[in-house]
């Protein structure tokens, strides 16, 4: 078990998501940076479906109630085990009563904490990912205890994992044309790829809104399915990139669709960060 001493800004339990209830209006949820989450689990020999902690901007302070291995991935967040500075992408042994604390994200903005055995809170609709009105809370709560599963993981002596250097400052976001892209004027199609956009302060697990408006004359559409990474454009020109907690259907034109790796990249970006859309060839 682990005890939450301080929660951080928005720390939540996440896994690969809740995939089978979209027909009931249930968002997929799950770690925004799925790749970082998967690596944390694989370095601990956990199941890829194991739940981890997703820390955003400023991480939590935790106390371990048993011996585990842990692995931190994603953004650099100045993690310390008691007084020792920890590196990302490396399994560490932690003992009962050890305290792990995180600082503020330096590179990127989301950090994942994997624990050998995985977090074992109750599964709701097939997933442990926290989401309002599905799990009892949408984030971790101070002074609560989180159960951890069993594991007999031991790192093989002498093996080493090459440190991951992921460039979160890359500004190009790879996208496909969305279903309503074809209705844009020729000039607008060019502009959407040239323009530098900035992420507004309205960015969270549900959606990232961009600061710059994108004027268009597209009509509203009959409500239709949307998925994480869909870029919607409202009548007043606000560009909204849907993330993993977004609703499953929407009525705004869908201009672009982020690739899976672009979703991961953008989930490591925050307010005022620059992006530019790079449109990939159509899938045929």
């Amino acid at each position: 078990m682990i005890e939450i001493l301080q929660t951080g800004i928005h720390t939540s339990i996440q896994d690969i998501g809740r995939h089978h209830f979209k027909n009931f209006g249930v968002p997929v949820s799950g770690a925004l940076d799925q790749s970082a989450c998967l690596i944390a689990n694989s370095l601990l020999n956990n199941s890829p479906k194991a739940a981890v902690l997703e820390c955003c901007i400023k991480g939590p302070k935790l106390k371990f109630h048993d011996n585990y291995y842990i692995c931190i991935t994603g953004a650099e967040m100045n993690a310390r085990l008691n007084d020792e500075i920890l590196k990302n992408y490396k399994p560490y042994f932690v003992k009962k009563e050890d305290v792990l604390s995180f600082g503020i994200a330096k590179l990127g903005c989301r950090t994942y904490l994997g624990i050998s055995g995985g977090i074992e809170t109750e599964k709701v609709l097939g997933s442990r990912s926290q989401y309002q009105n599905i799990t009892s809370s949408d984030k971790i709560i101070k002074n609560t205890i989180i159960p951890i599963g069993k594991s007999n993981f031991k790192p093989v002596v002498g093996t080493r994992v090459k440190e991951q250097k992921i460039n979160y400052t890359k500004i190009n976001i790879e996208v496909y044309e969305g279903p309503e892209f074809k209705f844009l004027e020729k000039e607008q199609r060019k502009l959407i790829q040239k323009k530098i956009f900035h992420i507004s302060s309205l960015n969270n697990r549900m959606a990232y809104q961009l600061k710059e408006k994108f004027a268009h004359n597209l009509p509203q559409i009959w409500t239709s399915p949307v998925i994480p990474g869909t870029v919607q454009c409202t009548p007043d020109g606000s560009m909204i990139i849907l993330m993993r907690d977004s609703q499953v259907t929407g009525g705004y034109p869908r201009l672009l669709q982020l690739t899976e790796s672009s979703i991961q990249l953008i989930s490591q970006k925050t307010t005022n960060n620059k992006i530019r859309f790079k449109i990939l060839p159509k899938i045929i």
Partner: protein, 239 residues
Amino acid sequence: MSDLFKFKVSALNTKTILLEWSIEPTDLLLEHIIKFKSLIEKDTEIQQCIVGYKSILIELKNTIHSLFYWEEHFKKKQKKIKNTIIERNHWKIPVCYDLKYAPDLLNVSKEKNLDTGKVIKLHSDARYRVNFLGFLPGFLYLSGLDSRLYLKRKKKPLLNIPKGAVAIGGKQTGIYPNISPGGWHLIGNTPVNLFNPKKNPPCFAKPGDWISFEQIDSHTYSKIESEQQNGNYQLNKYD
């Protein structure tokens, strides 16, 4: 060839295909889409399908190797859709239209120049079709609102619409399954729980089902509310 058989196929990403119809949504299209969905969902290469008013989104288990292959595949499947009539549930949803549950009822009555009794009658006499679920877990997209009740959404959305609120917005009516922001006009409230994550399925209604609203008084509202809390409430259906 019927317009129902004309749909466009495109890829949203490497594992997601979108089928879109260009005709306006009708009951006929809804039936067709529901049957189409259940037919293709049996395919082992397909993870799941999600529907909208005139579209089906298909999530594949593997990467698309040829979109043309899938287009042909879906066209072949479509020909197998049978014209049989499927029995659908018709749910009776109890709604209390008393003013304490209906903060916007007087305003709706004024805007539409109908007395409140008439608003309630028009709303509860109709039979609505569940097109699909979306927006919030357990939120039903319903068609069939009487055109005399069409009313533009509020300019400023409310931040905390109460759970169970029954509302009108544009040409639609709906029930808020949980507290949420929203711009619709609140004309009543149902004690019935539309979404229970502890149950599978978490919502009783399915696309294609019918629902009607049945007016209840505040005493019945409280009774149903407590029956539901004790787990011995059974939602009524029409035969």
